[in-house]
C-alpha cells in the first residue's frame, strides 16, 4: 500500500525531473499498474515535469491516489508560475515547439494518459492535470 495518499515535490532543477520520474514509477508500481501503463505514466510525467522546469521557470508536482467506481488511479498536477501559453491549440499540436525540442511533449503526454486537463493564463502560469486509471 502507498505510504500516503498524496504528496508533492518541487520541479526546480533537472535532478527534480529525474526524482519526479522515480516517484511516479514507485506510485504506479504500488497501485499495481502493468509495466506498459507504468512506463506511459512515467514518460508523461517526465515530459510535463520538463515543461514546468524549462518553459515554466520551475514549479511543483502534486500527486494523489484517486478512486472512482471502485477503480484506483494516479492523478498528477504540474503547476508552474511561468509565462503561460498564449495559444493553447497551437501548443497542443504535434510538432509545434516554442523552444528547441521536438514539440511532442504536451501533445504526446496527452496521448499517454486517460484524463488530461490544462489551464494556462498568460503571465500567471500553467497547470496540467493528468490521471491514469488502473
Amino acid at each position: 500500500m502507498p505510504t500516503a495518499p498524496q504528496g508533492e515535490s518541487p520541479l526546480r532543477s533537472e535532478h527534480d525531473i529525474v526524482l519526479a520520474r522515480q516517484t511516479v514509477r514507485k506510485l504506479t508500481q504500488e497501485l499495481g499498474f502493468s509495466l506498459v501503463d507504468q512506463t506511459k505514466m512515467v514518460t508523461a510525467a517526465s515530459e510535463l515535469a520538463r515543461n514546468a522546469y524549462t518553459h515554466g521557470r520551475g514549479g511543483t508536482l502534486c500527486w494523489q491516489i484517486v478512486e472512482r467506481d471502485a477503480r484506483r488511479g494516479l492523478k498528477l498536477r504540474f503547476a508552474d508560475e511561468g509565462p503561460g501559453i498564449p495559444n493553447m491549440d497551437l501548443a497542443l499540436t504535434d510538432g509545434w515547439t516554442s523552444g528547441n525540442g521536438l514539440g511532442m511533449g504536451l501533445s504526446g503526454a496527452r496521448r499517454l494518459v486517460n484524463d488530461f486537463e490544462i489551464d494556462s493564463k498568460v503571465g500567471a502560469g500553467t497547470r496540467v492535470t493528468i490521471t491514469r486509471w488502473k
Binding site: 535532478h15 525531473i17 507504468q38 512515467v42 511532442m104 504526446g108 503526454a109 496521448r111 499517454l112
Partner: protein, 129 residues
C-alpha cells in the same frame, strides 16, 4: 563530473546507458560520443538501452541527434535493446525515431553494423572503380 562511459569494442564504440539520465548528462554523452567517433575514426556505434525503463522526447531526440551527427562523421549508429514497454510508449508519444537503426540486442546490432559498413564500402568501391 558524472558521465556515461564509452567503451571501444574492436572496431566499434559501445555505450551502455544504465542510469536514469538527467538532461545535461544526455547532452554530455552526445558531445563525448561525437569526439570519440572522430578520435577513433570509428565506423560504428552501438547504444545499448536495455536497462532504460523510460525514453522520453528529450532522450529520443538525443539518440536521433547522435545518429545524425555520427552519420556526418562517417559512423553508423545502432540503438539496441529497447524494452517492449518503452517502444510501445515511444510510438504512442509520437516518436517513431525515423532514421535511427535499431536491433534487438548487442549481437544483432553488431551484425547490422557490419552489414551497413560492408555495404557502404562495396558501394564506394563500385563508384570509384
Amino acid at each position: 563530473m558524472e558521465r556515461i562511459p564509452i567503451l571501444r569494442m574492436g572496431e566499434f564504440l559501445l555505450v551502455t546507458i544504465q542510469v536514469d539520465m538527467h538532461d545535461q548528462l544526455a547532452l554530455k554523452l552526445q558531445d563525448d560520443l561525437s569526439h570519440a567517433i572522430q578520435k577513433n575514426a570509428t565506423q560504428g556505434v552501438l547504444i545499448d538501452i536495455s536497462t532504460l525503463e523510460m525514453v522520453d522526447s528529450f532522450i529520443g531526440r538525443m539518440v536521433a541527434d547522435i545518429s545524425g551527427i555520427g552519420r556526418i562523421l562517417g559512423a553508423e549508429t545502432v540503438l539496441v535493446g529497447m524494452q517492449p514497454a518503452v517502444a510501445i510508449t515511444l510510438v504512442e508519444l509520437g516518436l517513431a525515431l525515423p532514421g535511427v537503426a535499431t536491433a534487438l540486442n548487442v549481437e544483432r546490432g553488431m551484425a547490422l553494423l557490419r552489414r551497413k559498413i560492408d555495404g557502404a564500402e562495396s558501394n564506394a568501391d563500385s563508384t570509384t572503380g
